[in-house]
């Protein structure tokens, strides 16, 4: 221990002595370690503990998937769940939940809350207990006994002022009276973003539904049963179900997911891994930089190392001494890196809009915790070893008897050292290019997402959602009348140019739209399980003009398309091209659902522009528009085109809707541009982070190439002196240095470009607007890197040509 203490003391002394190089190394490592620590915190939250309960490793989600349509996680039907529950032996508990927005009315201002209808054993399955009261009783899953509710801590605190006597009180929910039986502990909001839970009950009809999938199923593994064993059993059950009911299960495959895999969607996981890879690259570049500095520094100490060796220091001891210094360097970088990471985590967390953050599993747990600290320590030590091992190893081979002579130069400039330093620079250039191209593509993709919505002129559009209670608005005429009155009042408001409604506003709610199968009249039935699907939008006639969605044929919907007139539909161009190619779809008929569905045939009266609904989709999805007067929805979004800032109209809009139904809460009241940015905030984060990482990589790589070229000039001083004495001009010397540096740059880029192309293919497959052959990414950015590298080579070259040949000749 004493000798390690000596190594540390001496290491600190050396770092302090060489302040400038120490600062450069610490800064490089701080950037590399800092982004890794910050990204680890994000990845830990998303991938390791995205749920607010402890025993998630024994809980699995049982989901359907439909690989042929790219659906990897889907809910299941009630009867599927009930059969699983009855037949599976791998689990000691199985439960289910359904998304359920509720309107809280009566005692206070009407408010919409995010609730979940859950099976009574749900909390027990998760192993969580209420802060107050109880959870649900087994019998409360029966219709009639389900008039109870459990509140989240947040809702209890916000709406009910943390009333300690809340238990047993009755509240009005969607027109029904429910008794509050429990309050959950602070921070528990699963399934995210739960504010309340009500019992999940099935009526007799629901218990027979097999092809309507809306239930999410979780199950707790029995002791000694592995996920693999449970998966095998569940697949057997699923195969039996598919054989018995092929219509309902054709194309669907059961998947058993661990909770972290279930809670964090695959795109989030992919982008998290992308960023983890990117920060790893940045750290490698930083390590290569530091390794190059260490090479130079250790070379300057070859005599000291030879003396130590002569005094009896073994090779391992010399390596330990040098590694101690390089680990000290990286630990100093880690301290600064942790401060940077704290700042970055703060930036990441604080810039996420709360209305988006509440939906992201694990977001609340993003922080630099003890695990992040340990991770930082581990990568700091690893970085120290990685950046120090090669210089230490090679310099421990110094020819000591030669070095110890009065004029001995040792073996500090062996070709292996040159080669390794060149390899490090080449690797830096290659990694930096990959990061730059990745960043460039993501920024282009992000810009494409912004541009695609400019046609909506979203800055002057206000959007808000409402959900009509089923009990109160059970009948279609009631809903139609409500909407007609509301739209009329809204359109008459000052500053409002027009008002409309749509069931799905593009990019709202994270872009989730839901799709339905549809059937075209006269077409042979599609192969079982292969029915075409579409987004079904129910809109008001003004919607197309309000959103600048162009009419491409036929007519728009009109107020005269009502209950008493033939049902009509407008289709998107995508539907026309995909399903009516070579013919005119106008006048043709289609219906929502399969051929035997109990829904009306709709006559196609118009064709409109395609609309991009979600950033995840590479292409616009087929859309069929219906009139709200013919199919009034319960849940809808109101959209208003205003004269200026849409938020100035909010209170007037609330009053206007309140005049029609004072108990109806409006929620997610947001300008449309905010809806769009909220929807793409995830990709904005990724693009911003990649841009920052790309720039850091560019700077670090240029520091690396500058360091190597600068060192090379120092090493070749004598040679340069000889060349100048022999008549070499300044240009000759400059060319000599530049050629060497640019050769390394070109080799690095030649290696990096194919790898960047691989990244481009991967990104283009998951992100709208990303093209593989992007000139910005593959021409402009490599040129930028080459230009920066040229400057980094030019500065040492300029120093070389300014040398006095006589001094250079005397240089040893």
């Amino acid at each position: 221990m004493g000798t390690i203490g000596q190594d540390i003391r001496y290491g600190v002394r050396m770092l302090v002595k060489h302040r400038l190089t120490t600062l450069v190394c610490v800064a490089a490592l701080a950037l590399g370690i800092g982004v890794n620590a910050a990204m680890f915190s994000v990845a830990e939250a998303f991938l390791l503990h995205p749920v607010p309960f402890e025993n998630s490793d024994r809980i699995v989600a049982l989901v359907d998937s439909r690989p042929s349509q790219g659906i990897d996680t889907n809910s299941v039907s009630p009867v599927t769940y009930l059969e699983w529950k009855a037949q599976a032996h791998s689990f000691d508990k199985m439960g289910a939940y359904v998304w359920d927005t509720i309107n809280l009315t009566g005692d206070r201002e009407a408010e919409k809350a995010q609730a979940f209808a859950i099976s009574p054993n749900f909390f027990d399955l998760l192993g969580v207990h209420p802060l107050m009261g109880r959870t649900f009783l087994p019998e409360e899953d029966q219709v009639g006994k389900d008039q109870v509710i459990v509140l989240s801590y947040g809702l209890w605190e916000r709406r009910y002022a943390s009333d300690p006597l809340i238990l047993g009180k009755k509240i009005k929910v969607d027109g029904k009276t429910l008794e509050i039986v429990g309050v959950m502990r602070k921070g528990f909001d699963y399934p995210k973003p739960a504010e309340a839970w009500v019992p999940l009950s099935f009526n007799a009809k629901q218990r027979t539904i097999r092809d309507s999938r809306y239930l999410w199923v979780l199950a707790h593994l029995k002791p000694q049963v592995s996920v693999q064993q449970a998966t095998a059993e569940m697949r057997t059950i699923a195969v039996q179900q598919a054989e018995a009911y092929p219509d309902a299960y054709k194309g669907w495959t059961l998947r058993v997911l661990t909770i972290p895999n279930f809670a964090t969607d695959s795109l989030t996981r992919q982008f998290t891994f992308l960023l983890l890879g990117a920060v790893g690259f940045v750290l490698l570049i930083a390590c290569a930089d530091v390794a190059n500095v260490q090479f130079a520094r250790v070379t300057g100490r070859h005599k000291e190392l030879a003396v130590r060796t002569a005094m009896g220091a073994s090779r391992s001891r010399i390596i330990r001494q040098l590694l101690t210094e390089s680990v000290l360097l990286s630990l100093a970088g880690a301290v600064l890196g942790l401060l940077l990471a704290m700042w970055w985590v703060y930036l990441i967390v604080s810039h996420m809009p709360p209305e988006v953050a509440k939906f992201i599993a694990g977001w609340n747990t993003i922080r630099l915790d003890a695990n992040a600290f340990l991770f930082t320590l581990a990568i700091a030590i690893s970085s120290g070893i990685v950046s120090g091992i090669a210089p230490s190893w090679l310099h421990s081979e110094t020819n000591i008897s030669e070095t110890l002579k009065e004029s001995g130069r040792g073996a500090s400039t062996g070709p292996s050292r040159h080669r390794l330093r060149s390899v490090l620079v080449i690797a830096e250039i290659a990694l930096a290019l990959i990061l730059l191209v990745g960043a460039g593509l993501l920024v282009k993709g992000f810009r494409a997402l912004i541009v695609v919505h400019e046609n909506f002129r979203p800055a002057t559009v206000l959007t808000l959602n409402l959900d009509l209670p089923e009990m109160q608005y059970k009948e279609k005429p009631g809903r139609t009348a409500f909407y007609a009155q509301v739209l009329q009042r809204l359109a008459a408001l000052p500053h409002v140019q027009s008002a409309g409604l749509a069931t799905y506003v593009p990019y709202a709610g994270g872009g989730g739209t839901g799709v339905s199968p549809f059937t075209i009249e006269g077409r042979a039935p599609e192969e079982r399980g292969e029915t075409p699907s579409t987004i079904v939008e129910t809109i008001s006639p003004d919607y197309f003009r309000l959103m600048n969605i162009g009419l491409r044929g036929g007519r728009e919907l009109s107020d005269s398309d009502g209950d008493a007139t033939p049902p009509v539909a407008v289709i998107s161009q995508n539907v026309a091209k995909r399903y009516f190619s070579g013919g005119n779809p106008l006048g043709k008929k289609l219906k929502i659902g399969k051929a035997d569905a109990d829904s009306p045939w709709l006559t196609i009266v118009g064709i409109v522009d395609d609309v991009h609904y979600t950033w995840v989709d590479k292409q616009e999805y087929p859309t069929i528009y219906r009139s709200y007067r013919q199919a009034p929805p319960f849940y809808t979004s109101l959209v208003l085109r205003t004269n200026g800032d849409p938020l100035t109209s909010v209170s007037a809009v609330r009053s206007a809707v309140g005049e029609v139904d004072p108990d109806l809460p409006l929620f997610d009241v947001l300008p449309f541009d905010r809806v769009i940015t909220n929807s793409i905030v995830g990709i904005a984060y990724v693009a911003a982070m990649m841009t920052i990482l790309g720039l850091i990589a560019l700077v670090l790589a240029s520091v690396g190439i500058y360091g190597v070229m600068s060192y090379s000039v120092g090493e070749r001083t004598h040679e340069i002196g000889v060349r100048m004495a022999m008549g070499a001009t300044s240009n000759d010397v400059q060319r000599l240095i530049l050629r060497n540096g640019l050769f390394l740059t070109i080799v690095g880029m030649a290696i990096g470009l194919p790898m960047a192309l691989g990244i481009a293919y991967a990104l283009s497959s998951i992100l709208f607007g990303v093209r593989v052959a992007d000139p910005f990414a593959f021409v402009a950015l490599p040129l930028l890197l080459a230009a920066v590298a040229t400057v980094a080579c030019y500065l040492p070259a300029r120093r070389a040509v300014r040398m006095d040949p006589l001094t250079a000749l005397r240089y040893e």
Partner: protein, 235 residues
């Protein structure tokens, strides 16, 4: 082992350097015996191979051929780590350029061989103090080499060579970087050490200092061409 026991015995030692496919024969057929307590000098013109011979004697380098016995043990073909261990425990070095580490204090420089030996801190402290007192530098413990004169630096280097109680002191042109006054002082110091029982092997090209030794080995073109004893008696 008696005082006259053989400490070093070389038979037919050769050293060939291979650089860029050129063979350079630095040493040829060296036969040499040094007894414990002897003070010998190796003399010769520049490039004759005396430093190479000292490097091999000091286990800083290994012979290309021949046998080398140190304290009765063959050491010519040892591994690097074995050579390192013996060098640390049995050989003390004094260099022309002092080769003190500039970033270590006098105390830390002298302590260095003991550090690599794993000596305890208390024992190190005592030995360093003793060694520095022997060379008259105990009052400069906290100084850095740059704060000392050349003569003082070489005294510290001698203390470093002594501190581990080595079997033999190897001095490579120990006065080469000193003025005559300081050079004399260092030579007197080595003579005192020899008188107190130390075995000393010194490389020098200066005949005045070679005469401090009991025996002088004369090298020319890598071969021993003459050996003289005290008062210039050729053997």
């Amino acid at each position: 082992m008696s005082d006259t026991a053989t400490l070093i015995k070389m038979e037919g030692v050769k050293k060939v350097f291979l650089t860029d496919e050129v063979e350079t024969h630095a040493l040829e057929e060296i036969h040499l015996e040094i007894k414990k307590g002897q003070y010998i000098s190796i003399a010769g013109p520049s490039g004759c191979g005396k430093s190479t011979l000292l490097s091999i004697l000091g286990l800083l380098d290994s012979p290309s051929d021949g046998t080398y016995m140190l304290n009765g043990q063959p050491v010519g073909k040892l591994t690097i780590s074995e050579r390192t261990r013996i060098r640390n425990r049995e050989i003390g070095f004094i260099f022309q350029a002092f080769n003190l580490i500039g970033d270590l204090t006098v105390y830390e420089n002298v302590e260095l061989p003991l550090t690599y030996r794993g000596t305890s801190s208390a024992e190190r402290k005592q030995k360093v103090q003793n060694a520095l007192e022997r060379v008259g530098m105990a009052h400069r413990l906290r100084h850095y080499p740059s704060q000392l004169s050349g003569g003082q630096q070489q005294r510290v280097a001698v203390a470093r060579a002594l501190v581990g109680d080595p079997l033999i002191l190897m001095a490579d042109e120990p006065t080469g970087n000193l003025d005559s006054k300081n050079g004399e002082a260092v030579m007197e110091l080595l003579r005192d050490l020899h008188r107190n029982g130390a075995t000393v092997c010194m490389v020098t090209h200066d005949q005045r200092y070679a005469n401090f030794a009991e025996r002088t080995i004369h090298l020319f073109d890598g071969r021993i061409v003459e050996e003289t004893k005290e008062a210039g008696v050729s053997v």
